[in-house]
């Protein structure tokens, strides 16, 4: 047997394959590392550029005219809270109701259609929701309003909540449902009082995640809620919103506004992150079960 292995010999083949393995495995490590970089990058800049503007003023004061320092985003924060309340009032009942239907009638044709279309709707661009709400609620009424903005956001929440509700309900063991039925509960009582109640933590989480998602949306609000420099909580008038304000300030040339934009972004992200982390925590055990 020769000392140096031939090109096609078993040994050099093995070495080549081992080398290829090493390279590819390393590449996946690299890919994972790179994939986590942008988030760290973004959070770093957010904190560096936004933290300095986070003071009590930010939460209490109103925007100042350009060139004057010391403004805040109080109206935008309240505006966002009002908008997501409207959105939730519309999106949660419909979404949870639809989710219940999907879980009850898993195989029916309507259920399949609804499930499919919900997933498709989840991918619909938010600007499309905006022009839809404009067409239906701004044009006939004649002016911009918080209600129009809230409805645009609510329409976005529906497919999200529907699917998460269905998935959460599916995790409730069937024995629970059967036991209730066997004990004489009517169907609706079983679904609402037993199954829904058991799945409630997951459903609440799904609802919160949907709320967090729409709280950050800007495009649907551009021509519905429109924005407002003054304090307004009326549903019938234009209203300020945090993402809208961030957008306006970001594309402006004023440095004070840029700082406010970063601060606003930090507040928005903090809100979204807290909810996402809470959601992860609550559904962690379910993840573990599904992961095998």
């Amino acid at each position: 047997m020769s000392k140096s292995p031939g090109f096609f010999s078993a040994e050099s083949n093995r070495k080549r394959r081992a080398a290829a393995n090493g390279v590819m495995v390393t590449l996946t490590y690299v890919a994972a590392a790179v994939a986590t970089l942008p988030l760290i990058f973004i959070l770093f800049h957010l904190i560096k550029l936004g933290a300095t503007s986070i003071n009590p003023d930010f939460f209490i004061r109103m925007p100042q005219p350009v060139g004057e320092a010391g403004g805040g985003m109080a109206n935008a924060i309240v505006g966002t809270l009002i908008l997501i309340s409207i959105a939730a009032a519309m999106g949660l009942p419909i979404g949870i109701g639809a989710g219940l239907y999907l879980a009850d009638r898993k195989g029916s044709r309507l259920a399949n259609v609804v499930r499919f279309l919900s997933d498709v709707m989840n991918g619909l661009p938010s600007i499309v929701m905006g022009i839809f709400a404009w067409e239906l609620l701004v044009v006939p009424i004649g002016h911009f309003s918080a209600l129009a903005g809230g409805v645009a956001l609510g329409a976005m929440m529906i497919p999200l909540v529907t699917r998460t509700t269905e998935e959460m309900i599916a995790t409730v063991p069937n024995t629970l449902r059967e036991a209730a039925l066997a004990l004489g509960y009517q169907k609706w009582r079983t679904s609402l009082g037993v199954v829904l109640r058991t799945a409630m933590p997951g459903i609440v989480t799904g609802a919160l995640v949907a709320v967090a998602r729409v709280a950050g949306e800007t495009a649907p609000l551009l021509f519905t809620a429109f924005g407002n420099h003054f304090w307004s909580t009326s549903l019938d008038k234009p209203i300020a919103a945090l993402p809208l304000q961030i957008f306006t300030y970001a594309i402006s040339p004023y440095d004070e506004w840029h700082s406010l934009a970063w601060a606003g972004a930090l507040v928005l992200i903090a809100m979204v992150l807290v909810i996402s982390i809470a959601a992860r925590y609550v559904t962690r055990s379910r993840y573990g079960v599904a992961a095998d």
């Binding site: 973004i42 309507l110 609804v114 991918g123």
Partner: protein
């Protein structure tokens, strides 16, 4: 409650002996008896109505937009999609530059994101030690939670200057690619490249999450068989795992495409707002969503509004088709996995 329950008991008990996974089989008798109760009927009606609301809403959205777009569609016909002239004053509207921009920026995004998304998905499902899986997966998934406007903010103040001052000169001058059509023209900063890179970061978590799910769904037996035959880890992944997960992965990529096509705020803030088709990555461009976002509140004549609505209708149709394809691909894999 006492009256109907004994019949219900009978019906439910009768079905219990052969319960397959899924909701309890409802024999017609039990069904009829249950539904005959007012509470059940009300419950069924309400949930069915709410469920039916979803497709109705989608149809309503489509109809409202297409109706509003009709004046433009009937005036320009298919030429709307092919014409590059977007001249508001002259009343001529062609969506080609916006369509081009949407598609090109999305393709750039996919080209950049897919390797890293797939790589990280493989890492997480095959190699990562357990203590690393949760945090890394979490960090990647969190990218999906960041609002678009925050991406745009970061894009304007961090990404675009970085591209303009370092990356673009590198490609244009150091690598001498400036003479190719892809890197020609001045380096403004806001550009197709900037939009593509930002979109890549935004769609990465979607591709990664779906890929992770489908990779995880591949039965362990496949992996073990490959390893037993002497494959290296990489060969196992390449030959046993990925082929089984292939259509799901493609579905994930297409899902990412769907997201990229519809992104509005982040793209508006970094693409440069120029309705022109250019081969250069360095040139400013436009996307359909940005066009609508920029011009909608100021469209001063009815044809302009109709034209913008027509762009919206186009975007609506494209994203529905793309998302439907993605959905079908991913769904078919998970169905296969379940069987």
């Amino acid at each position: 409650m006492t009256g109907g329950s004994s019949a219900l008991d009978a019906g439910a008990a009768g079905g219990l002996s052969e319960v397959p996974p899924g909701p309890p089989p409802e024999s017609r008798l039990a069904n009829a008896l249950a539904a005959s109760h007012v509470g059940d009927r009300a419950y069924t009606v309400v949930t069915t109505a709410f469920a039916a609301f979803v497709p109705l809403l989608l149809i309503l959205i489509g109809v409202a937009i297409i109706v509003a777009a009709w004046p433009a569609i009937s005036t320009f016909g298919l030429g709307f999609i092919t014409s590059s002239e977007w001249d508001v004053r002259a009343g001529k509207f062609g969506a080609a530059p916006a369509l081009f921009g949407t598609i090109v920026s999305s393709i750039i995004a996919l080209a950049l994101a897919t390797p890293f998304a797939l790589g990280s998905a493989i890492f997480l499902s095959e190699f990562a030690p357990n203590w690393l899986k949760q945090p890394v997966g979490f960090l990647v998934d969190l990218l999906a939670a960041i609002p678009s406007v925050v991406y745009g903010l970061w894009g304007i103040f961090v990404l675009v200057p970085l591209l303009r001052e370092h990356v673009m000169p590198f490609f244009r001058d150091t690598l001498h690619l400036g003479s190719t059509p892809f890197f020609s023209g001045p380096a403004y900063g806001p550009s197709m490249l900037a939009a593509g890179v930002l979109l890549a970061v935004m769609v990465l978590p979607y591709i990664s999450a779906v890929s992770r799910e489908v990779l995880r769904a591949v039965p362990r037996a496949q992996r073990e068989a490959a390893l037993a035959l002497g494959a290296t880890k990489w060969e196992m992944i390449r030959d046993a795992v990925i082929p089984a997960a292939k259509s799901g992965i493609v579905g994930g990529i297409i899902l990412g495409l769907g997201r990229a096509l519809g992104e509005t705020m982040a793209v508006t803030m970094v693409i440069g707002n120029r309705p022109e088709i250019s081969a250069s990555l360095l040139a400013p461009g436009y996307s359909m969503a940005s066009l609508i976002a920029n011009e909608f509140s100021e469209a001063t004549n009815d044809m302009h509004v109709a034209a913008l609505m027509a762009v919206g209708a186009l975007l609506f149709l494209i994203t529905i088709v793309v998302n439907a394809i993605a959905r079908w691909l991913v769904w078919s894999v998970s169905m296969k996995g379940e069987k």
